[in-house]
């Protein structure tokens, strides 16, 4: 078991920092390039959601925790912002509350497709917690 915790401002500049940090952290597991890319993209989606939606009137914090045990990687991205009032709707492909800002609405779809499991917990004004899991392949070339 190995774990790490990052806390950073919910600003777009930190998206690259977040995904690169996770990629670096899991490197000892010798993930395939494809696995690294999937995880980086999923982390970027979760952090983007926090940056874009969580704090409309201030710059709040994002907490990113990551741990792994054998070949199972867990990533939790958490904010303390406005939350989501209808999580089921938010998870629908192409649904976005910010269509006018040209947001595609497929962030959660990308996360669920690229990771093995994604769990989203949220309540209004209580932030959002996204827990993603990926099992790395054991039979590497």
């Amino acid at each position: 078991m190995n774990k790490m915790l990052l806390k950073f401002s919910a600003i777009s500049q930190n998206e690259a920092f977040a995904r690169t940090s996770v990629a670096a952290f899991i490197l000892p597991l010798s993930p395939t390039l494809s696995e690294i890319n999937d995880i980086k993209t999923a982390v970027s989606e979760a952090v983007t959601n926090a940056v874009v939606h969580a704090y409309p009137n201030r710059i709040g914090d994002v907490e990113l925790s990551c741990w792994y045990d054998v070949d199972e990687v867990h990533i939790i991205v958490k904010d303390y912002g406005v939350g989501i009032d209808n999580v089921k709707l938010a998870l629908e492909p192409y649904f976005s509350t910010k269509k006018e800002e040209e947001r595609s609405g497929i962030g959660f779809t990308v996360m669920s497709t690229f990771m093995d499991a994604v769990k989203v917990d949220s309540n209004v004004n209580q932030g959002v917690r996204v827990h993603m899991t990926k099992c790395l392949s054991k039979n590497k070339e």
Binding site: S12, Q13, E15, A16, R19, S34, N37, D38, K40, T41, S44, E45, T48, V51, V52, E101, E102, R103, S104, I106, G107, T109, V110, T113, F114
Partner: protein, 102 residues
């Protein structure tokens, strides 16, 4: 993230380089929209992604936004040479139905 363009035989090419996420979204949109407005005589637009090393769904929103603008001008748009990881996001989004890969 860097972007440049060229006009070749009525085709307007945009070359995207680096990592495209929310941080560069506005800059990329503004750059492309300015060129689309200022340039005359193009009949199609190609987004070359050969040097784009990362893109998340924010990029899909940007590309679809440009597609919609160009459609109003009856200009077709295309995607070219995405890397494997970018391709995966593009395929998942369904964007190839309106912006084919050439």
């Amino acid at each position: 993230m860097q972007i440049r363009y060229s006009l070749e035989n009525f085709s307007l090419y945009f070359y995207l380089q680096g990592e495209l996420d929310q941080h560069y979204a506005k800059g990329v949109k503004d750059y492309i929209d300015n060129i689309l407005e200022e340039t005359k005589g193009y009949k199609k637009v190609v987004f070359n992604l050969a040097d784009l090393s990362f893109m998340d769904s924010t990029g899909i929103g940007i590309l679809l936004g440009r597609y919609k603008k160009l459609k109003k001008l009856s200009v077709s748009s295309f995607l070219e040479a995405p890397k494997v990881n970018v391709e995966k996001v593009l395929e998942l989004s369904g964007i190839y139905e309106v912006m084919p890969k050439i």
